[in-house]
């Protein structure tokens, strides 16, 4: 029986409390920090060598789908009623509404040092000291909307542009492609203006603080953001039923992408699972 992932703005008080408590429980036992570490370790950029499984690659979507499932399994070992809610940033765009409330993720960082001082993940609670980080910062930071150089959340039309593209991804399967659903959603552009950074990438930048960097998983909003990105993948799939994950076959030895991307039936590191096996998760969870 599939469980339901809900819109975070619709959670009851009890659902909010149980989700937060499950996060705090896995943080306390060190499990949460392993997720932070894993995300840092799997960020391989496409201008450097090596296999890209998590970013700048077709498997951006299945990698994060499995990553969410692992986190969700950890939460459900604490409390079997918990599922990861999603944050629809095309609708919930205020810095004071869900998910930025005191009973959920807490609010914006304070002006002086961007430290989050409200809600269950505030440093002063003693429950959310950051261990795995790019910097020596031990407290959660946010700079919602980036006060010093403001940007907006992605517009609904940005999401629509991605959803309309019938092709999952195109060669060379990296951050430079300007077609294909995957990179339109992941959001790598070119040029220097902030308009070049779309959808998924743009939300990371809008939240700011730790969400700006490689240790973005330290902000629990990471999961709510990626649950919505994952939901958008299911929407794309239902719009383009004849289209599948690409590439279907691995690039050959003559290709610059040889052994650098994960094809449909290849194992997706670090798991023993293929993108093909992750394309349909509807027997595990559904979105409300």
């Amino acid at each position: 029986m599939a469980y339901i992932r809900k819109d975070v703005s619709t959670l009851t008080g009890a659902e909010r409390r149980r989700f937060v408590n499950a996060l705090l429980a896995i943080k306390k036992r060190g499990e949460y920090d392993e997720f932070v570490r894993m995300h840092i370790d799997h960020y391989v950029s496409d201008g450097d060598g090596g296999l890209r499984s998590a970013h700048m690659a077709p498997s951006f979507l299945p990698w994060h789908r499995r990553f969410l499932l692992d986190l969700e399994a950890a939460l459900r070992r604490v409390d079997p009623a918990v599922t990861v809610p999603y944050w629809d940033w095309t609708r919930d765009r205020a810095t004071t509404a869900a998910p930025w409330t005191k009973d959920l993720l807490g609010g914006n960082g304070r002006r002086s040092d961007h430290q989050v001082t409200t809600g269950p993940f505030a440093y002063a609670t003693g429950n959310w000291t950051i261990k795995e980080n790019v910097t020596d910062g031990e407290f959660l930071t946010r700079d919602l909307g980036r006060a010093g150089d403001p940007i907006d959340l992605p517009a609904r039309s940005d999401v629509e542009t991605a959803l309309r593209d019938p092709v999952y991804d195109v060669s060379p399967w990296d951050s430079t492609v300007d077609r294909g659903f995957r990179n339109r959603l992941e959001g790598w552009g070119s040029g220097s203006g902030s308009a070049a950074w779309r959808n998924h990438n743009r939300v990371h930048r809008w939240v700011g603080g730790v969400m700006l960097g490689g240790a973005s998983v330290n902000d629990p909003v990471f999961w709510l953001h990626h649950a919505f990105v994952d939901l958008l993948w299911t929407r794309w799939q239902s719009r383009h039923r004849e289209h599948r994950y690409l590439p279907a076959e691995p690039p050959g030895p003559g290709s610059r992408q040889y052994r650098r991307v994960v094809a449909r039936h290849e194992k997706l590191p670090p798991w023993n699972v293929t993108p093909d096996q992750l394309e349909d998760a509807s027997r595990i969870y559904r979105y409300a």
Partner: protein, 161 residues
Amino acid sequence: MAVSVEGVPVSAVPAATARSAPARRTRRRDLLRGLLGASAALAIAPVVAASRPPGPADAGPAGSSFDETYRGRHIRGALTSSGPAAATGGEWKVTVDGRPLHLMRRADGTWLSMVDHYRSYATPLEAVRAAVDGLGPGERLREDGPAHHHTHMGGHHGLHP
């Protein structure tokens, strides 16, 4: 040299691009010695600019090294031929206030850092300045280097050694 970046005073040691090749090489060695210590510098052969593949990053004003104070932070960087990225045109060794900052390269030749990870910049210098912009007051990079242990080799990532 004193320039202003978005109203923030910046004092910069000029990049070595205008110097002759031997002078540039010496300068880079000095910089590397400062960055990495003498023994590390000896092991690193300077990369001649012409040996690098052309790309937007190479056209940047930073040339092959920089050393400046930006928003009160001492940022230094130098291109080396060591490291896993050597095959793709050399690796930048960068520090902010003496602590290492890992730079990554995008396939379009632009750069991003571990601090500012969801967009890229035309030059390493721009990427490092953006990383400084992303640091809070008093916040420093980790002393032991960026929390980034992957091998660049693909497949093996040593998650739990």
